[in-house]
Amino acid sequence: MTKLLEAPTTNRQPRQGRGTGPRGTAPTGSGRRPLAAAFGLLTSPKYGPVTVTGLLFVAIFVIGGFRYRGFFSGQVFLNLFVDNAYLIVLAVGMTFVILTGGIDLSVGAVVALSGMIAASLLQTGWSPGVVIPIILVLTSVLGLLVGLMVHVFKVQPFIATLAAMFLARGLCYVISQSSISITDPTFVQLAVSRIPLGAGLSITPSVIIALVVVALAVWVLHGTRFGRTVYAIGGGEQSGLLMGLPVARTKVLVYVISGFCSGLAGVLFTFYTLSGYPLTAIGTELDAIAAVVIGGTLLTGGYGFVLGSVLGVLVLGVIQTILTFEGTLSSWWTKIFIGALLLVFIILQKVLTARRR
């Protein structure tokens, strides 16, 4: 959507390897110095936003460290992953969808739904080894239905996934109106166990799962045909079709992936809260979308990275952490503060990546 104002600048980067045929002599381009390379990284339409996001994240973290006692510690950093493992997984799925130019509003409700399914099935004595696969299959199927709606019936992603959101949320209520505890030993074990990293630092198994998902996603997006087709669809679906790429399959699959990730995120979320609750994760889709966009992915599709989205999640997480360390904000100032931090961040990101007009 921002293409509006970026179009004139992004399109007209002077290219380097210039010239046409043997006659063309390249006046610039060869032998770039490291400084220029760093500058190029900052201003490149491809890597700029991610680089800037990373730098800003580090900056916020350092500033927080100066401002709050006990902030600048390894565990506070690791807790960003511990607390947001599910959001990372969500953002990964969302990145796939947004890269194709779509959007998935159903993820929050699906997180709640998979929590409800897990809690209710575990309560009736099912084994986690069965429950988790069932959840992942069900949420993937929901993603598949959304994908088919989007591709076959040309329903706008916003609406198709909004319907899915209603459906998932509604199913939560149908399963149970009240929250259900999870007492299954495996789940409890996964919830409370910590993986020590030495020096008093530790993470949870969920973090490992989330990081594996991230690594897989990076590989899929950058190392496979499917992944490149995802980018291709975002760059121009029509062109992709004319180039003979499997647009239909990819577009549907992207929603399946998002559904799967939502399901998995739901499972991680239940590790975190050990319960199913129909009202949980309301508005989480906005967090996921915000993380992806903050991470430098264009909502119109085609540009962005999974790692950027991970950074986006960390940024949201660090904002949250700052809030608790601040500890004195009333409810409304909390909201205003979140908005303000988001704003500062986005503007800095914009200013730093802005190219000469």
Partner: protein, 341 residues
């Protein structure tokens, strides 16, 4: 084209009406009580008015390829501002107080709109994030104004906005009609509509053709915020209380849904205000249907999902193709029948 796109939403509206009629035979009855129109249909119009007003602004924003998530927060702010002014004044019941309150609320919304416009048009931030900022912070501001309390005002002129009647017609409906009419008039009778569409379809081409995209975006976001503020005033006046937490909560989703059901694409470009009107009516009727039919609250969401899905699938070009193929086959068959006889 537009009329075609509206076919299924209108059908859906009629189907919802029919369902209501079955559940409650008096659904279509409109009586005059104390010189005021009274009936389910009137309720639908009146309760749908705020959504429609916001959806009108949203339509224009979406046509420029944008989106505005902050409308709910803006509605809450305007309600809070108006109520706190009325509460703070020595004469809450006087027309002047209310006029001042409304004016200030609307002026503030203009500022908020310009703010959104600034982020989107001048800084080039993606609209969803730009307006997400105000969506989050704005509700905080509204709560700051009310200090988290529900401000109840006892001011008949203010209440009139939300639940009053004028010539027997609910004031809210009249306001919605005026906003709708003005928007239609201004965009369709001037070149504004064409510019909005053109910027939404191909921003760079529009820029090169001399369309002032930036100013346009400012205008559109400001207008949308103004619509949100008007809706916020109506919502607040409806219960004569400013509830910063809940006024306009999730109304952005309803508004966007109305716009899309009305056939305007979220990818920007061509828009249909008439479609938005139908969309808003469908959504409000849906809510009423849930109540009249007595769908239990736990099933409400599933029901909504079903209706939205059905409308979308019916509207789909794929369905249209399949249907026309079917019709053609029918025609061929009946044609043969005629030939044979």
């Amino acid at each position: 084209m537009a009329s075609n796109r509206l076919f299924w939403p209108v059908v859906m509206l009629l189907v919802l009406f029919a369902i209501n009629l079955v559940a409650f035979p008096g659904f279509f009855e409109i009586t005059v009580r104390d010189g005021q129109l009274f009936g389910s249909l009137i309720d639908i119009l009146r309760n749908g008015a705020p959504t429609l007003i916001i959806a009108v602004g949203m339509t224009l924003v979406i046509a420029t390829r944008g989106i505005d998530l902050s409308v709910g927060a803006v509605a809450a702010i305007s309600g809070a501002v108006a109520c706190s002014i009325i509460l703070g004044s020595p004469a809450p019941g006087s027309l002047a107080t209310v006029a001042v309150a409304i004016t200030v609320a609307l002026l503030i919304s203009l500022v908020l709109g310009v703010w959104n416009g600034f982020l989107v048009a001048a800084l080039g931030i993606q609209p969803i994030i730009a307006t997400l900022i105000l969506m989050t912070a704005g509700r905080g501001v509204a709560m700051l104004i009310t200090e988290g309390q529900i401000l109840t005002v006892n001011s008949p002129p203010f209440k009139f906005l939300g639940s009053g009647f004028w010539f027997g017609i609910p004031v809210a409906v009249i306001i919605a009609a005026v906003v709708f009419g003005l928007a239609a008039l201004i965009t369709r009778r001037t070149a504004l509509g064409m510019f909005i569409e053109s910027v939404g379809i191909n921003p760079e081409a529009s820029r090169q053709a001399g369309v002032r995209a930036r100013g346009l975006l400012f205008a559109v976001y400001t207008f949308c915020a103004l619509c949100a503020a008007i809706a916020g005033l109506i919502l607040t006046a409806n219960t004569a209380a400013a509830d910063a937490n809940n006024t306009g909560l999730f109304i952005e989703l309803d508004a966007i849904l109305a716009v899309v059901i009305g056939g305007t694409s979220l990818a920007g470009g061509r828009y249909s205000l008439l479609g938005t009107l139908v969309g808003a009516l469908v959504i409000q009727t849906l809510v009423t249907t849930v109540y009249t039919v007595g769908i239990p609250p736990i099933a409400t969401m599933v029901f909504k999902a079903a209706v939205v899905t059905i409308v979308c699938l019916l509207q789909s070009p794929t369905t249209a193709e399949a249907l026309s193929g079917f019709r053609r086959r029918l025609a061929v068959r009946s044609g043969k029948g005629v030939a044979a006889s």
